[in-house]
Amino acid sequence: MNALNKSKLWANLKSKYSIYMVLLALFLVSWLANENFVSGENLKNISTQISVGTILAFGQTILIISGMLDLSSASVLALAGVLSVSAYKMTGSLVIAFLVAILVGVLCNVLNGLMVTKFKAPPFIATLAMMTMARGAALMYTNGQNIYQIGDYVVFGQGRILGLPAPIIFMIGLLVLTWYLLKHTVFGRSVYAIGGNEEAANASGINVNKVKMRAFIINGIFVGIAGVLFMSRINGGMPNGAIGYEFKALTAAVIGGTSFTGGIGTASGTLAGAFIVGFLDNIMVLIGVNSYLQQIVRGAIIALAVIYDIWAKTKKTKLKLGNVESK
């Protein structure tokens, strides 16, 4: 292999895996900064802490790739969560409680989907409306009060499966599901096609509205599961819980390389994006960085990670163009 090929291979690797390199670099720096960072318990903690936001981010990734987004995910999470907790307190059944959360998540997202596909409302506006309605419904149902004494419901968020905290298992399961849906199904290919060019996708025979509605329904399932995990982790039904989580989810997806212009993004990239934020938050607390400074550093490193990722991808495009020209 000559030097030129080696250089191209490296450039290709760098562009394809740039976000994972950022993640690896951050991991190594954090390890050097504090030895507790790499302890098994700490890594489990970080994974558990990011799990709810990351599950929401998988749903966002599918929506963003298809050219949409969901601003209502955190509010729907709260509504699904409090209704699920309430269902558990009424019936004592974990299965019913779990199904209620998923049903609420799906119903709210079907409404989102209808607003977008039937009434052609921009997803930003449609989900913004749902954000307000769902939060209001959660507050109205609980009269603004938290629901306590939720008994065995905590098993979803505080239990262990195969020695790992249950939220991590849910996160891994939904990572695999998202990856499979996006990479190995007709639905996934349609999602990329619609996000890349909706008119072309329509012209090629893809039922755009059907795919968009399915994307919202899958997002609804993820939001419902996230609702169960959030409420059980904090041991209460909190109607004002998870405020701002929609932005955590969007941040993870975008840092992970999902493009707001649509057609680009991966589940594993989103997971990497979530871990970048999770590592940052964790190491800054471990080494005792001032609370105000943490916000500045968090913003700066997120900006740098995204700039590096874009720069690496731009180089890849130039490399490809160079190859075409040389042929």
């Binding site: 504090n34 507790n36 302890s39 318990e41 700490n42 903690n45 558990t48 802490q49 939060r135 507050l139 009269n143 603004g144 009060q145 938290n146 306590y148 004494q149 959030f230 982790r233 904090i234 041991n235 209460g236 909190m238 109607p239 004002n240 819980g241 998870a242 405020i243 938050d281 964790n282 607390v285 471990l286 005792g288 609370s291 105000y292």
Partner: protein, 329 residues
């Protein structure tokens, strides 16, 4: 001569204008006291119905108002936004309410609007937290310094020598968050220089944020002897992390608010103490104040409710209180 005439005319004109502008306000201010009505309209502008304490308080105010035949209460939601809260105060002035009760989102941001309401002759009561220094307005509050102090006084004797403690703070700039932290500094940390703060973070009153910080502190420190939280929600979040960990059996934890969850944790021996900021007491005082102001019994009232400490010794009575209110079933 002409010059003096012009100056005299200008001064006279300005004096007339100033007198003209200020007179109606004075007349308006005097009017409601003189006017006796069958029903007085009261606007209660809540900080945010999404805030669980604010929601508890709004519910308590509604319940209390139902006891007064001469008061018709309407509740408005400030949605944790200065802009929304200020607009609601402006609307209440325009709609000529007899009393406006303001639970500020940010006292300084609401101050000019409260001043405007007072100037319009409306009785204004600020609460949780009070906006002080507005002549003509009244206030009902609990003193955040005292709320923290009653816990700090207990902690001075309870927290062991050379202890490691973690501190969970409320949002910076919030009057109650800052005053409670200041109280802990003066009433505990300055009296106990042997105690080391091994972690201090802003968890914004939130349970989930407090959980995340506590999980990390547990990794970073071999020993944590006490959790000092500026509210019960954050204390409960930190306790959630260590409650099943045998290494942290007996960890001390302090909060403020006296929420239903905190009383249950104290009953179970998982939390050490909290101080009650009773929404019921605030509501009772608010409606009593409103009634006295509109009926002319008093012109201005500024009062604080008590901040009783809740420990394992007296927790049962507060659990009963929450049961009566339906917060514990």
């Amino acid at each position: 001569m002409k010059k003096w005439l012009v100056i005299t005319l200008i001064v006279t004109l300005v004096a007339v204008l100033v007198a003209g502008c200020s007179q109606p306000a004075t007349e308006q201010a005097a009017a409601p006291a003189a006017e006796q009505k069958d029903v007085y309209r009261v606007a209660y502008i809540a900080r945010a119905q999404a805030d669980s304490f604010a929601a508890w308080m709004a519910n308590a105010v509604i319940e209390e108002a139902a006891k007064y035949d001469n008061i018709k209460l309407e509740v408005f939601d400030g949605q944790a936004s200065d802009d929304t809260e200020n607009s609601l105060i402006e609307n209440a002035i325009t709609n000529k309410y007899d009393v406006i009760i303001v639970q500020p989102n940010n006292g300084e941001a609401q101050r000019p609007y409260v001043e405007r309401a007072v100037a319009a002759g409306i009785k204004v009561i600020t609460t949780n937290a009070r906006i002080s220094g507005i002549p003509g307005s009244s206030s009902v509050d609990a003193d955040p310094y005292v709320q923290a102090k009653v816990n700090a006084d207990l902690a001075v004797s309870q927290i062991p020598q050379n202890a490691n403690v973690v501190v969970l703070m409320g949002p910076p700039g919030n009057f109650h968050a800052d005053a409670r932290r200041e109280s802990w500094q003066k009433e505990f940390f300055e009296k106990r220089p042997d105690v080391k703060i091994v972690g201090e973070e802003i968890a914004n009153w939130n349970k989930d944020e407090a959980m995340n910080y506590m999980e990390t502190w547990v990794q970073a420190n071999d020993k944590i002897d006490a959790i000092i939280a500026m509210n019960d929600n954050m204390a409960a979040g930190a306790i959630e992390v260590v409650k099943d960990n045998p290494n942290y059996k007996g960890i001390l934890s302090y909060g403020v608010d006296g929420t239903a969850e905190a009383t249950l944790l104290i009953q179970q021996g998982l939390m050490t103490s909290t101080s009650l900021q009773s929404a019921y007491d605030l509501a009772t005082a608010l409606l009593d104040t409103a009634n006295k102001l509109v009926t002319g019994v008093e012109k201005e009232i500024n009062m604080d409710i008590n901040s009783p400490i809740i420990t394992k010794d007296n927790v049962e009575q507060y659990i009963e209180m929450h049961k009566r209110a339906g917060a514990i079933k």
